[in-house]
Structures are given as C-alpha cells and as structure tokens.
C-alpha cells in the first residue's frame, strides 16, 4: 500500500487544496485528514458520512464535592493549574486537566476519581473513487497526535477492506507532535511552501524535522509568481540540500473563489497554467518512491 503525504510547516500555503486535487486526479484513493485541529479536507471532498464515532483518549479527574474537605493538597500538586478553589471545596477545570493521576494520591479523603475523556469524533465518508477519513478534535484537547495516529490506522484498515492501494494524507501544520504522528510509514512526502521569508523559514525547519524521522520530502512552491526572487532562492536551497522540487503553482485569484463554491482548481475560471501545473505536479509526486 502506498501512502503519500502533503505537509506545509507554515499554515495556509495550500496543503488541503493540493490533497483534494490529488485525490480527485488519483481516481481510486483513501484520503485522510490529519489536520485534526482544523480539518478542512471534507469541504472539498463531498460524499456521504457514516455516523460519527467517538474517540476516547486519557482521563479527566473529578472531585466529589461531598467528600472534599477543601485542604487544597490536590491543587498544590497539580502542575497544569487545572484545580481551583470553588467556595469551600476544590474543583477540576477539565480543559486543563491532563489526567496524570498526580492529584488523587495527595487527597486525604479519596474524593478524586477519573472519567474517560472524549477527545474528539471521527468518521468515514464514502465518496466517488474511494473514502475520506476525517476527524474533529474536541475543543482545547491535547490528544491531537493520538487522534492523527487513530485516523491513519482507520485509513489503512479502510483501504485494505476496499482493496484500494493508495492513501493520501493531508498533514497537520507545524513541526511538533501531530506532524510527527503523520510522518511514519510514508512512501513519499511533499511540502507545499510559498515564496516568502516565512515560507522559507518554516520549510527549513520542516526539512530539518523530517530528516530526523528519515522522511525525504519533495517541495512545491505555491503562488510562486508573488515573488520570483524568493522562489528561486527557495529552489536553490532545495537543490543544495538534494531536495527535489516538483514544480511551481502560479498565484490565481480564481482559486479561492472556486474553493468557496466547493470546487477544485481543475476547471475554469482557474487559469490553464494553474490546471496544468497541478496535473504535472501530481504526475511527478505519484511517481515518487
């Protein structure tokens, strides 16, 4: 089974648009949205969702008010500022509780128990040519890496079951825990950047991170004509590091308009240059090993 992932380091460079476009061009594929903090791939890949399923990870502490004597020992051991005084007793702020179990041994009256934590929901969407696996992390949850690992596993199971041998991964932004969870077991990876000092800076940090995970991504410069000079500088940096550049996509004001209508930039009013650049990049990316 081949797994191709698109990352960006910097947010907003066009990652989700590229993944949706590739999924369409691939014909048969399972797409998986690993940007579980702000999942947008479903907006561009219509189909029919199965009922959503809960994703549980970790626990949250609960203080029984009738047992709490208000001594405050729990609050003193909590390192996440997740326990605060409420009148004569203490209460847990669930948004900040990490379920670490440091507080309950400190409680002299055994007032603290734990409940399983619903960290988010995920679902499978049946769509023309395959499936989309997508998820939404609960508000202020700290389990995004685990949910990324979970949706990737579901994508593998779904692909196997459906006899599809291509998975397209929409990666999370950044270089921390969710990005690490999206980097394992890939056949090839692509980073979408833009020709700006911030695009360049974030690309370098992403390449350095990927190298530690033995991932060797290729690069695409989106909106390249906004700064041909920066595009050349980024491409030269890639050449120096031995990173293949698969192409350039021009800035095209029709693209956000198409996306607003839920349409992909593979048709007019997207310019012929945009459409052919996207097709050519997919040809090259899908041929990478």
């Amino acid at each position: 089974m081949r797994q191709l992932a698109v990352f960006s380091g910097k947010g907003g460079t066009g990652k989700t648009t590229l993944v949706a476009t590739f999924t369409h061009l691939a014909g048969q594929a399972v797409a998986v949205d690993c940007d579980v903090d702000a999942a947008n791939l479903a907006i561009l890949l219509p189909g029919e969702d199965e009922p959503p399923r809960d994703f549980f990870a970790g626990e949250k502490a609960v203080i029984a008010a009738d047992k709490c004597i208000g001594c405050g020992r729990c609050a003193r051991v909590c390192r996440f500022d997740a326990i605060e005084r409420a009148a004569r007793t203490y209460k847990v702020l669930p948004l900040f509780c990490e379920g670490c179990h440091a507080c309950d041994p400190a409680c002299p009256t055994d007032a603290i128990t734990y409940t399983p934590n619903k960290a988010g929901v995920w679902t499978r969407r049946r769509r023309e040519g395959g499936w989309l696996i997508h998820a939404e992390l609960g508000v202020a949850q700290d389990n995004s890496g685990k949910l990324v690992a979970h949706v990737r596993e579901q994508a593998r199971l779904t692909a196997r079951e459906a006899g599809i041998d291509l998975i397209l991964v929409d990666g999370p932004p950044g270089i921390g825990c969710p990005a690490h969870a999206a980097m394992g077991d890939l056949s090839a990876a692509l980073i979408v950047t833009e020709p700006s000092v911030s695009g360049e800076h974030d690309l370098i940090r992403f390449l350095d991170t990927a190298a530690r995970f033995e991932v060797h991504p290729a690069v695409v410069v989106n909106k390249w004509d906004l700064s041909p000079e920066l595009t050349e500088r980024i491409e030269a940096m890639c050449a120096e590091r031995g990173v293949p550049v698969l192409g350039r996509v021009p800035f095209d004001a029709a693209v956000p308009r198409l996306l607003t209508q839920g349409r992909l930039p593979l048709e007019a009013p997207a310019s012929p240059e945009t459409i052919s650049a996207l097709r050519a990049i997919w040809e090259r990316f899908s041929a990478l090993d």
């Binding site: 379920g99 670490c100 440091a102 950044g174 974030d202």
Partner: protein, 281 residues
Amino acid sequence: MRIAIASGKGGTGKTLVATSLAWWLAQRGTPVTYVDADVEEPNGHLFLHPEPVGERRVPILIPAVDASRCTHCAICQTTCAFHALLVMPTHWMIFEELCHSCGACVAACPERALSEKKVEIGTLRLGQADGLEVLTGVLDVGQARATPVIEATVASAPKERLRVVDCPPGTSCSAVASVRGADLVILVTEPTPFGLHDLELAVRMCQALDLEVAAVINRADLGDEAVREFLEEEDIPLLGTLSFDPHLAKAIAKGQLAVKASSEVRSLMSSILDYLTEEAP
C-alpha cells in the same frame, strides 16, 4: 494587558496583524512586548528584525532513576498515565517524548528512587526593535511538546507591559496555552469555507475559556459573505478588514513589516487602537 492574535486556520495573517499592532502601539509610546508563541514556526522576527539582547534555554522536568534505590517494583510504570516509563527486571527505559512532566511517578515511588532532571527542549530569545521588545519562543527541531515552550514564552513577558501574543494555529493544546488568560483574543480569518470552519472552532475554544473575542478579516475580497454573517450572529465585533493587495503580499514576502508597507494596514491598526481604548475591558 495581554492581547492574543489567533486563528484556527493557518496562514490567515496572524503574524501580519500581531507584528504590525505591536510596532504601531510602540511607536505611540506604549511599552509593548511582541511575544511569538508560535514556537513550532515562529516568524515574527523575520518582519521585526530585532537586535538580539539575550537568550535562555527552556527546560522541562523528566524523571531520573537512582539505580542504588530502585527495586524494579514498577509502581512508577503503572502510575504513569502516559506510558513514559518501562521497568524491566534488570533495567528501565524513560520515553522523554511521552512524559508530561506531571511528577506523579516521583510522588508514587515507595523507595524514593526517582527525582527529576531538567531536559532542554527550546529557546527563549529576547530582542529589541524600534523601541519594541521582541520575545520569541523556539521549539527545538525534533521535539514534540510545544506547550511547555509556549507557556514559558508567555509567562516570561513582563506583566506591566502591553503584550501582543502571536499564537500558533489550531484549537488544541498549543493554541489554548497561548491564549489562556488573555484579556482579548483577536481572531484573524479569511472569507472562505476553510476560514469559516476554523473560525467557528477558534470561537468555541475562546468561549470555553471564557475569553473576550474580536475579529479581523484578511483578503476580504477573495471569498463570500458567510464569515461576516457568522460574526454578526455570534455578536463578535469586526475590528476591520484587509483586501488582497499584491504589493503588500510582495512586501511581506521579502520580510517588510506590513504596517510600514501599506496604508490599509495602518488604518486597520488605528481601528484596533480605537477599539482597545474605547471598548476593551
């Protein structure tokens, strides 16, 4: 006062607004610290060009085992909710990237064989630019846990100054750590279905944290009206908009500060300033 500049979606213009606002306020004589809390990909320094003043490393606490006391009872392993410790008959392993530095294992060890040691995972850089203090948190490449670096960065900014915090994208732990306790959150969004979807998530996050919210729409001419309608329904003040301007995009691409390059950005800044002086808590 602490103002957080956030957005669910990445690339909407958070750094543009945060750097411009901090600089604009500093030029008007306000003691301001620009705090870059997007520690995975901190970009503010690329536009503010601070002169370095100093830096320090950001440590987290990780358990350390005293071999002479450990009896391999594995109570630490069963206590750890994050599976960061593995105890075997003759040795043990500590998985630093899984540890949440909660201290539960140290408290649980009946032999007092565990203590905590510091492991550095990031850097805090302080700089000066045009009368502005610039504080940047940088997560070390390869490290997974951004939150402790974000918390250290936000906590290091002097409380007596006005702090403009440039937040990471998303709505999970990193974003929460960067907005927690802010007096006002300005959400920067764009009028596309992506922008709207992620704006809704960011608004829900701020509501759950009981934070005051306002919004700015960037590239306001490249989309539809759904974001404005959402803001009206939610009664969230719209502090201003920016239209897509290729000249500004080019200036930013080269590392120029948006507020110096565009009069539209300057008028957005004065609307934000008006709001801060008249309406804000």
